[in-house]
């Protein structure tokens, strides 16, 4: 039995936000800032207003002055007084057709007075740097305080720097390096799109490319001052997310435009807008020091990250816990100092992308582990063997996971890897990298089960199908627990008005959350009054997190003449509990690894001077079917999963280690260490040339 939506998707019948049209619907497009940092002197909308088909043109004073965001509420609907990045929304045009709206938006004339701009965390934190936000501490949800460096959004530190410094000074072996990662985009292929229909102050309907409708409902309501309960987010199939569609996107703006024009308003981004003006992954600068004793056991580590957060901080939650970019989740580190700085710059605002922070941090950490092994004089695998956590030990953040299966997973990977021949004359290398990720036990969702007369079951869920196969997994779990054949179960996505709650897809917790609600549903189903529909919900944290290890082995070939690198094979050894849907699980492994391959070798927003130069998909290169290696998977079964369903996370496990596995393999082949991503032929060639 295939996916619930396979035939609809393959025949072009599945409908996405961009495919919907409402009666009397108007279209919106925005005029965006051409400047990275400037005062807005004047905006002349006359030509735009006179352009064919235009209904109205709006600037900041016409729309709600309340900013929006997830935890940090700092983003205006339209730039007010000044612009903070190239691509920021300055004016919005509503017209009869999309083309007319776009045409008119290009005719909005904006006069600027340029201001000094800063593009990197080090520029932004330098003394005397221009203030991007005059009073960043005054925003609701601000993590910074008055007196902090002016462009600091949030600094989270853990552990004692002094103790770590002393331990490193006394360590037998220490490595200290700087690693850098580039800006990359989630690369979903469906541009962000929204339709807002403001019917009255008591009724607003929204169709949005979102994975988190309940969260968006709250954020839109707060921004436009409408009771969130009066806002209905429709359930629409999502054309890819990967973290990029958890924010309100243009829903608050479209709601305002619909309110002001009295018509449903649709806005579909052009992909260049997605690349330049949404919420891609933070570029990171990471300074890492690790020390080990004579036996190669880690004694202390210091990990300091500066994350380029762009012009607004609204699209990530402000978490006080160690940021993904400075986590050391797999190893025994007696003393850890970590520091994660998120810094405003005059660049595109950043948000979450698959395993937020971890692809950057794990690239640094797992590269440094190999560098440490080299100075100690032991094999990289042996260093990891000596330092991987075992069950019963707390991790560096003092968290106890239910078990640690890093050693088993490492040995399984090493046992399974078979050398692949490099082309004649090319250098061959092999590299490993490890990542472990915990799954929160938090479950928050709901379901309605309605029996049909013909023996079928209608199941309504507020969970958005982002493409992972979650609706298929839900059907399968219900089939197992209730005894209905999967062919007798119909899964229907419903709106925020129809069911009480859903936390949204993310944090690798969808399957575990579904399992929890299916458990409750199964009990309620047995006890129900005959032929009655039942509604069930969960909103609980069972308190025990489980972790899942991934060990990757990359095999590469490098052409010594040009530096060209070919990824011959990527092996993923994953630590698994029960697998509900083996093919969907496998696609998370392969798809996640492919995203890692893109991050490691191809993708780069190519940012300079506040511009995203890779502003179209011809420049921003996603891996194609030709660019991916042979994938090999080793599953290490027998782990303890969450709840009675006994499931673990997989969606964010295989992306983070890829870049380090490849960097380590390239070093193995060439003795050249690449510490900044992406790993390109040019960099390898220059490094090899520098060595001679």
């Amino acid at each position: 039995m295939s996916r619930v939506d396979a035939a609809l998707k393959a025949s072009g019948q599945s409908r996405y936000v961009a495919d919907f049209a409402l009666p009397d619907m108007a279209h919106a497009a925005v005029a965006r800032s051409a400047m990275a940092h400037a005062r807005i002197v004047s905006i002349d909308t006359r030509a735009a207003l006179a352009s064919p088909g235009v209904i109205a043109v709006f600037t900041a004073q016409d729309v709600s002055p309340i900013p929006y965001g997830r935890a940090l509420i700092d983003t205006p609907l339209l730039a007010r007084d000044k612009v903070r990045f190239v691509g920021e929304r300055v004016a919005a045009v509503v017209a009869a057709t999309r083309q007319q709206a776009e045409h008119a938006a290009a005719m909005v004339e904006i006069d600027y007075e340029p201001l000094d701009a800063v593009f990197t965390p080090s520029e932004a934190l330098a003394p005397g740097a221009p203030a991007i936000h005059e009073q960043p501490w005054a925003y609701k949800g601000a993590g910074a305080k008055q007196g902090d460096p002016i462009n600091l959004i949030h600094r989270a530190t853990h552990g004692s720097k002094e103790e770590v410094d002393a331990a490193l000074a006394a360590a037998a072996f220490v490595v200290e390096h700087h690693y850098a990662t580039q800006g990359v985009h989630q690369g979903y292929l469906e541009p962000q799109a929204c339709i807002a229909h403001f019917i009255s102050e008591d009724e607003v309907q929204i169709w949005l490319t979102t994975k988190a409708p309940y969260r968006v409902r709250e954020m839109v309501g707060t921004c436009v001052e409408i009771d969130p309960k009066k806002i209905e987010l429709q359930s629409i199939t999502l054309g890819g997310d990967f973290g990029g569609k958890g924010s309100p996107q243009d829903a608050p703006l479209c709601t305002e435009l619909s309110r002001k024009t009295g018509r449903p308003v649709k806005m579909t981004l052009r992909y260049s807008e997605d690349l330049t003006a949404t919420n891609p992954r933070h570029p990171a600068e990471i300074d890492l020091r690790i020390g080990a004793d004579k036996e190669g056991r880690i004694v202390a580590a210091s990990m300091v990250a500066h994350l380029n957060a762009g012009a607004y901080g609204a699209f990530t939650p402000n978490v006080p816990a160690p940021h993904g970019a400075v986590e050391i989740p797999s190893y025994r580190v007696p003393l850890l100092y970590s520091e994660a700085n998120r810094v405003y710059t005059n660049t595109v605002p950043r948000g979450n992308m698959r395993a937020p922070g971890a692809p950057q941090g794990i690239f640094a950490l797992e590269s440094a582990m190999d560098e440490l092994a080299l100075v100690i004089g032991i094999e990289p695998a042996e260093l990891r063997r000596r330092n991987l956590l075992v069950t019963g030990e707390a991790d560096a953040s003092h968290v106890h996971w239910i078990e640690h299966r890093g050693l088993e997973t490492l040995e399984a990977a090493l046992a399974a890897v078979e050398p692949v021949a490099a082309p004649p004359g090319w250098l061959y290398g092999r590299g490993i990298a490890i990542y472990s990720r915990s799954t929160t036990s938090m479950a928050s969702t709901s379901l309605r089960l309605t029996p049909y007369d013909d023996g079928c079951l209608r199941v309504e869920t507020p969970l958005i199908e982002t493409g992972t196969g979650s609706h298929t997994v839900l059907r399968q779990m219900l089939s197992d627990q209730l005894g209905f054949a999967t062919t007798k179960i119909e899964i229907v996505g419903v709106s925020t008005n129809d069911l009480p709650r859903d936390a949204g897809a993310g944090a690798s917790r969808v399957t575990a959350g579904l399992a929890a609600v299916v458990d409750v549903a199964a009990k309620a189903w047995m006890n129900r009054a005959r032929d009655e529909a039942i509604v069930v919900e969960v909103n609980e944290d069972s308190g025990v997190d489980v972790g899942s290890y991934t060990v990757q082995v990359a095999q590469v070939a490098v052409d010594p003449g040009t530096g060209q690198m070919r990824l011959l094979e990527l092996l993923n050894a994953v630590d698994v509990a029960k697998i509900i849907n083996p093919l969907a699980f496998q696609m998370q492994i392969d798809g996640g690894a492919t995203m890692g391959v893109g991050f490691a070798t191809l993708e780069d927003l190519d940012e300079a001077d506040g511009q995203v130069w890779a502003a179209n998909m011809g420049e921003y290169k996603l891996p194609s079917a030709r660019d991916v290696p042979v994938y090999k998977t080793v599953k290490v079964p027998g782990a303890i999963g969450l709840g009675t369903a006994n499931v673990k996370n997989i969606g964010e496990s295989t992306t983070p280690p890829v870049a380090a596995a490849i960097a380590n393999a390239v070093f193995d082949a060439t003795r050249c260490r690449i510490r900044d991503l992406p790993i390109t032929a040019e960099k390898i060639y220059q490094a090899m040339k520098g060595q001679q």
Binding site: G12, Y16, L189, G467, G618
Partner: protein, 149 residues
């Protein structure tokens, strides 16, 4: 401007601005199976067949389709059930936004090189990007479809 073509085997004509792109004419007339992704002819989500040749309809003027034989995912999957069956059976999709383009390209490969091997499949399909799957199940789907021919 009026544009007239054969669409999915039937006569089709539409009134549209002369600068219209084929993707917009199709989508505004209810053929929303054809998706617009990158808008610059790179990702392949908007792939349709014009006289048996796959084209990126997001950079193809509707006027160029005048008098031509155009097929979209809706028409091809209705005409050739093995095409739909292969993608369903092998689950050659996740989010589904690239899938119509993958399906159209698979059909085009069936015309051009039905005996394509793994490498030739990947080469031919390289113009259809997918962010979800890692391409394993899509390549399987294409192979299964070609084997049915």
């Amino acid at each position: 401007m009026n544009v007239t073509m054969t669409l999915n085997g039937r006569p089709f004509s539409a009134e549209t601005p002369s600068e219209s792109l084929l993707v917009d004419v199709l989508r505004l007339n209810g053929f929303t199976g054809t998706k617009e992704g990158c808008g610059v002819g790179v990702c392949g989500a908007c792939t349709v067949l014009v006289n048996d040749v796959p084209v990126a309809s997001c950079i193809y003027l509707a006027a160029l389709a005048e008098g031509q034989d155009v097929w979209t995912v809706e028409g091809l999957t209705a005409k050739d059930s093995a095409l739909l069956d292969a993608f369903v059976e092998k689950e050659g999709m996740q989010c589904g936004i690239c899938t119509p383009g993958q399906v159209v390209s698979a059909y085009a490969l069936g015309i051009e090189n039905p005996k394509a091997n793994e490498e030739e499949i990947r080469e031919f399909m390289a113009g259809n990007l997918c962010r979800c799957t890692g391409y394993v199940t899509i390549t399987e789907s294409v192979r299964t479809y070609l084997a049915s021919k």
